[in-house]
């Protein structure tokens, strides 16, 4: 079933990169679009780049996180645990034991994908539920519901699995002239 497919996919994925399109639909129906790309090496290393309107580059080497905000010309360095609870990056690069942090449930096929529902076990995360859509056993899209019945939908394309990615990708060197804040 989908839960096993997801687990299998994550277990056999050492590295992943893709482009993504993100749409946030608020309860008022207003939508906000963004796009970007990400690179990751499991566990723990990722670079998640948002283009307009967020213009942020989030890099993690597994120990610390660099949040580079291009509009603000500012880099905030945070310890990894404090930063990202159940964000898309944390799920894709997390340890393989999703069952530890989420209740997993296979959902019926919909819109051409087999879905897995991940309901966080801890109440104080920012998401009420996350759904991952698999196509041919591979992660194709994600939906994240927050506590304000607003949904973030992310679809992936140009996905490359287990292609070599240099570890340099996951340490960030702040550009000259940028404010650096260490938390």
């Amino acid at each position: 079933d989908s839960v096993n497919d997801l687990q299998k996919y994550l277990n056999e994925t050492k590295s992943l990169s893709a482009n993504f399109n993100q749409t946030v639909r608020s309860k008022s129906g207003k939508t906000e679009n963004s796009s970007g790309q990400f690179y990751l090496i499991r566990p723990g290393k990722f670079k998640w780049i948002y283009k307009q309107p967020y213009n942020q580059e989030i890099t993690s080497n597994g120990q610390q996180l660099w949040l580079y905000d291009i509009d603000l010309a500012q880099v905030t360095i945070k310890p990894i645990n404090k930063a990202l609870d159940a964000s898309p990056a944390a799920i894709l690069t997390g340890n393989n034991n999703l069952a530890q942090n989420f209740n997993l449930q296979s959902l019926p096929t919909k819109d051409g994908a087999n879905w897995v529902a991940l309901t966080p076990k801890s109440k104080d995360g920012s998401f009420a539920q996350i759904r991952i859509g698999l196509v041919n056993g591979a992660i194709d899209r994600m939906e994240l519901d927050d506590h304000f019945n607003q949904t973030t939908m992310i679809s992936f394309n140009k996905v490359q699995k287990n292609a070599p990615i240099s570890a340099q990708m996951f340490t960030f060197t702040p550009p000259a002239g940028v404010d650096v804040i260490r938390e």
């Binding site: 906000e32 309107p53 905000d69 509009d71 603000l72 009420a128 994240l144 927050d146 506590h147 804040i181």
Partner: protein, 162 residues
Amino acid sequence: CAQTPLAVPPAGFAATGKINIRQANQSDTAQFSWVAAKQQDQLILSSPFGTTLAELVLQYQGDRVSSAVLNRGEQLDQADDPEQLLQQLTGLTLPVSGMRWWLRGLPSPNEPFAREGEVLLQNGWRITPSDYRNTPLPYRIELLRDDLKVRILINEWNSAAP
């Protein structure tokens, strides 16, 4: 020159963008949407992943905030002092009571103010609107007070808000 502060345009206004609050080595950045109607403002703070972090609704009597309600998903909290409510429950220090004017580079009508060129001084804050892009509204507003620096970058102004 004591301009008369512009009241909220009858149709209200809305602004979306990014807000950064920095104090010592603490820095918080969020996406925001501010919708101002005649007697009510709604501020939504969210993360780049799209998750809503908090929703603050301010009710006005005349030009003064009469009550504020903060919604953090499962919990609704109400208070008269919106700054205190926001600070206590989210840790964010933000001068929201003056925002419906300061966002537009204008002084709030409730308190005395002074001007130093482009800079507006009110309520202990130095408010610097800039980046007008040949329009009547700024796309960048910086608020300074003691060791607190708030930077607001506007993505979009929309005057025909509900």
